[in-house]
Amino acid sequence: MSASRPPRACRSARERMPLRHYGALGPSEAEALQSHLESCRACGREWEEVRRVLAAVDPATVFPGEAGVDWRKFTRMTVERALAAGRETRPKGRDALRRFFSSWPAVFAAPARVAALCAAVVVAALVLGSWLRPGGTRTARVPASGGEAGIVPLTPLLESAHVMEDRLARRGAARYLSDSRALLVNLVGATARCRRTEGRYDIALEKEKSRQLLRRKNLYEGDLLALEDQRLATLVRQLESVLMQVAALDDCTPARPIHDLREEIERRQILLRIDLVTRELRGRADVV
């Protein structure tokens, strides 16, 4: 026979039990619950059960892996990665503007800031216009209606910002490729023997490095694609496949998978192509 439905007061008390465990009840609610528990045996037992279950679900029991992690090392690695990523990420235009604004004293209200910026743009345009007009060096001047002073278009300024972005993206890509190359060279030529098992290779470091490179690639995928370089895109895709294979190997891996990877690297001439593409990226990054 099923148990009869508990009275309303008991249902309400039971709904509040987990909240009591988490200290999320207000003083009056906590007091009301306490007095109910003292007067109702069934709810008293229920509270003991809930409390016991929630206390048992402690992180150390549920996530045994957590205790085994060297969190100091993890912190260090995370901070290093974040700082490196911060150095490599070029500041976005919107962020730069926001930083510019936020550096202004708070006494300037937002509309005042916008008005000041507009005024600065107009002044800059007039100054540039008056500077360029006498020599006639710029033919792209837009005549103002009424034939008075012209305004120099901002396109050249935007173009130079675009060129700079392009250069930074190329440098980042070149760095990514040369780091990947160093890893592959190590894998192809100088893999350390595993101390634990005869005939196996210790690739724990290469695995970790592969993971880092994959993360970097994911983080900067947009920048790489923005370069619209088909050769680079194909190379990065093939490189990603090799890095994923390395990351999936055991720390102490047999010779066969390493041999297969070496064959793939040689067959696709990945090292040679990395050299060519990197050289081209570096050359173009220096020229533009």
Partner: protein, 201 residues
């Protein structure tokens, strides 16, 4: 006295030396537990936490103190975990199973080897049972439970992070606690004797 999370996040935004490191130290374990709740895999959870913290650093200037920093971090983490799950599906990787889940300590770079004692075995068995119980909860209920129990977030913050009413958070916690109790009573009648006795604060 320990600096509060908002002040710490402000320190990260203004690039105060050591602020980001302190934030990583403070959040990494809580984020790991939440990530584990989504991914059910130790190494994937560590990867997700690291990615999330790097993203937090890169997006630090976009943070607005309207939300608690951990609420903001938990949203980034949830998106990161969803991305990882999606990528896993696209790449046709093996589905998550108990065997993979029970393989902590695989990553030699980050992990130290645990001791193997009878007490540890028993603890592991209890952990396995509790994990099973948690993963039988419906996804939304489980998420809310994980955010409160392991993420130690306030109920209002959970409601804000998950975009639901405060009442939903409260009722989900109640249902989750009842479901866990029922599951454990069914799966292991001796649980009552094994569970801790001490009073919680």
């Amino acid at each position: 006295m320990e600096e509060d999370d908002f002040a710490l996040m402000q320190g990260v935004q203004s690039e105060r030396p050591g602020a980001f490191e302190a934030l990583v130290e403070r959040y990494q374990r809580r984020l790991y537990r939440l990530a584990f709740g989504y991914l059910r895999h130790h190494e994937d959870a560590l990867d997700a936490v690291q990615e999330t913290l790097v993203k937090i650093y890169l997006a630090r200037r976009r943070y607005s103190p309207r939300a608690h920093p951990f609420t903001w971090a938990s949203r980034i983490l949830a998106n990161q975990c969803i991305d990882q799950i999606r990528r896993r599906r696209v790449r046709g990787e093996e589905p998550l199973d108990q065997a993979r889940e029970e393989r902590p300590g695989h990553d030699a770079v980050l992990l130290v080897s645990p001791e193997k004692t009878p007490a540890l075995q028993e603890r592991r068995e209890l952990g396995r049972l509790l994990k099973q119980a948690i993963f039988t909860l419906p996804p939304r209920q489980r998420e809310i439970f994980m955010l409160r129990h392991f993420g130690e977030m306030r109920l209002e913050e959970i409601a804000s992070a998950r975009g639901c009413a405060l009442g939903t958070v409260k009722s989900s916690l109640h249902r989750a606690a009842a479901a866990l109790r029922d599951y454990l009573a069914r799966a292991d009648p001796a649980f009552r004797d094994r569970a801790p006795e001490e009073e919680t604060p």
